[in-house]
């Protein structure tokens, strides 16, 4: 029995299809994709261990760096996104304008160009490790996207909630942290998870900046053996496995956040 229920979903432009937590069927696009990805890796490594198993053994260092860039960027991005989102909702004209301009500028420039720009601009002033510079560049960019997610999520909460909290005597900050954000999480989490996945994929761009993440590791391998096709095939399959698992994790978390729904 399905009860019709209004669900607030924030439209997203990138990332992955988050599997619906209510979908219990075994055969799904997600399942098929995962089988293809894992199956192909196993098949290739078993039938042609050379070069595929060799490549697979070469890549873990890169996977680790990819995770490092992704997780560090997400951690920096969430507060930037929250501040930007609140700024975009602020009634204070100056704050609003600053936040909006930041979002506008970032959205108008390709990520790769931004990475180059921030990376080399930073290099003019401070000598930072490549990895740190890459993380900062990713965060500055994704902060703007995350800002939009937070803005939409916070904006979707009924104004009555704020009014109820304020009329009890809570100040604006308490209202935000005790009443609005705990509810906004539910609408924010799926798109945040989505941004997380998009960020993981885009972290492949920092391979340009001399950071040895997954893609660059693949290229390093190929540049020695000239097995470009084989190396990039493995890289692609591993990215696919990771993003599929992440989208499942997001969907499980999403289901858990629905604990106060009608049953």
């Amino acid at each position: 029995m399905t009860v019709e229920k209004k669900e607030i979903r924030i439209a997203v432009t990138d990332g992955m299809l988050i599997p619906s937590s209510k979908d219990k069927s075994f055969v799904s696009a997600w399942m098929i994709s995962l089988c293809i990805a894992v199956g192909s890796i196993l098949f290739l490594c078993i039938t042609k261990p050379k070069p595929y198993y060799e490549i697979l053994k070469f890549l873990p260092d890169g996977i680790l760096i990819t995770f490092e860039v992704t997780i560090a960027s997400i951690i920096v991005t969430i507060p930037i996104g929250l501040i930007t989102g609140l700024g975009r909702l602020s009634k204070n004209k100056t704050i609003n304008l600053i936040a909006s301009t930041y979002v506008e500028i970032i959205r108008g420039i390709p990520l790769l160009v931004q990475l180059f720009f921030i990376y080399f601009a930073l290099g003019e002033f401070v000598q930072l490790p490549d990895l740190t510079a890459a993380i900062i560049a990713m965060s500055v960019c994704y902060g703007a996207y995350m800002g939009e997610v937070f803005r939409a999520g916070i904006d979707a909460i009924d104004k009555g909630q704020t009014e109820a909290a304020r009329s009890l005597g809570f100040n604006p900050r308490q209202t935000m942290f005790l009443v609005v954000l705990p509810q906004a999480w539910r609408t924010i989490l799926p798109p945040v998870g989505n941004e997380f996945i998009a960020l993981l994929k885009d972290s492949s761009l920092v391979s340009i900046l001399a950071v040895s993440e997954l893609l660059r590791r693949g290229r390093e391998y190929a540049s020695v053996t000239f097995e470009y096709f084989e190396a990039y095939l493995m890289v692609a399959l591993i990215y696919l496995c990771i993003t599929l698992l992440m989208s499942k994790a997001v969907s499980i978390m999403e289901a858990r956040l629905n604990y106060y729904d009608e049953r």
């Binding site: 009924d158 009555g160 909630q161 009014e163 109820a164 909290a165 304020r166 009329s167 009890l168 005597g169 809570f170 100040n171 308490q174 005790l178 009443v179 705990p182 509810q183 106060y260 729904d261 009608e262 049953r263």
Partner: protein, 247 residues
């Protein structure tokens, strides 16, 4: 600071504009401690705006509103402290869906008045008993009926031990069979001596509970009087017309 002769709410020459629209037009009203005032009037007449101005959910453009000796629009006064004296009940309940019923009741006292958790919970349980839903303390609001939600909302406001309760059409969103249970709670509250300002279309409630009824139309207070006066010889033609329509 207050005695029987000082109004606990003083609304003085208040104007509120929404763009071209004059939502409140020179509104004056004094409310005494313990008094129950029912506000009636057609849709769009400014009833909600007046009520919401009392706890500054709307800021007025002209005039002053003094609650318990403090001007709510004076930046020198802490509006959050003033609001703790004013319980507010909304038409749409506005319970916090991510907190259980008892969580809804204890959140403000524990955070704002630093009441210890167990003490706040004991108070909450006795309030829930008073509004007749102690068995629902640990469920989430989504599992309650409309009438139960509104009774929880009243209990939540009472948990802050306010001096005044403001009600904005508390029964308008309810199925007819649930209106009674909410009005009963409000009648009991009135009997206990709470100062109440209620916007409502429940004329039976107004007749039973109100010390004074206020009739508003087009942002103005056109008539103020006892229920007797209102129902036996209303003076203003627009009030007469309004009463004809709703009675």
């Amino acid at each position: 600071m207050t005695n029987a002769n000082t109004p606990i709410i003083q609304i003085r020459n208040v104007y509120k504009f929404f763009g071209q629209l004059t939502a409140l037009n020179d509104v004056c009203l004094d409310i005494q401690p313990g008094e129950k005032v029912v506000v009636i009037g057609p849709s769009g007449s400014g009833k909600s705006t007046m009520l919401r101005s009392i706890n500054r959910l709307e800021t007025v453009d002209k005039g002053s509103i003094i609650v318990d000796g403090k001007d709510v629009n004076d930046p020198a006064n802490d509006i959050n402290a003033i609001r703790q004296e004013l319980g507010m009940v909304f038409q749409s309940f506005n319970l916090f869906p991510h907190r259980t019923v008892i969580g809804n009741l204890t959140m403000a006292p524990t955070r704002l008045k630093k009441v210890p958790k167990d003490e706040a919970e004991a108070t909450a349980l006795s309030l829930l008993k008073k509004v007749g839903i102690s068995d629902k303390a640990h469920v989430y609001p989504s599992n309650l009926s409309g009438g139960q939600k509104q009774r929880v909302a009243i209990a939540r406001a009472l948990a802050m031990q306010p001096k005044i309760m403001l009600f904005d059409e508390p029964t308008s969103a309810l199925d007819p069979e649930m209106i009674g249970e909410v009005l009963d709670v409000m009648v009991n509250l009135a009997r206990e001596g709470m100062t109440m300002v209620c916007v409502t279309h429940e004329m039976g409630f107004a007749r039973e509970v109100a010390d004074r009824i206020v009739f508003m139309d087009q942002g103005q207070i056109l008539e103020v009087g006892t229920p007797d006066h209102f129902f036996t010889n209303p003076e203003h033609p627009r009030l007469q017309k309004f009463l004809e329509q709703i009675l």
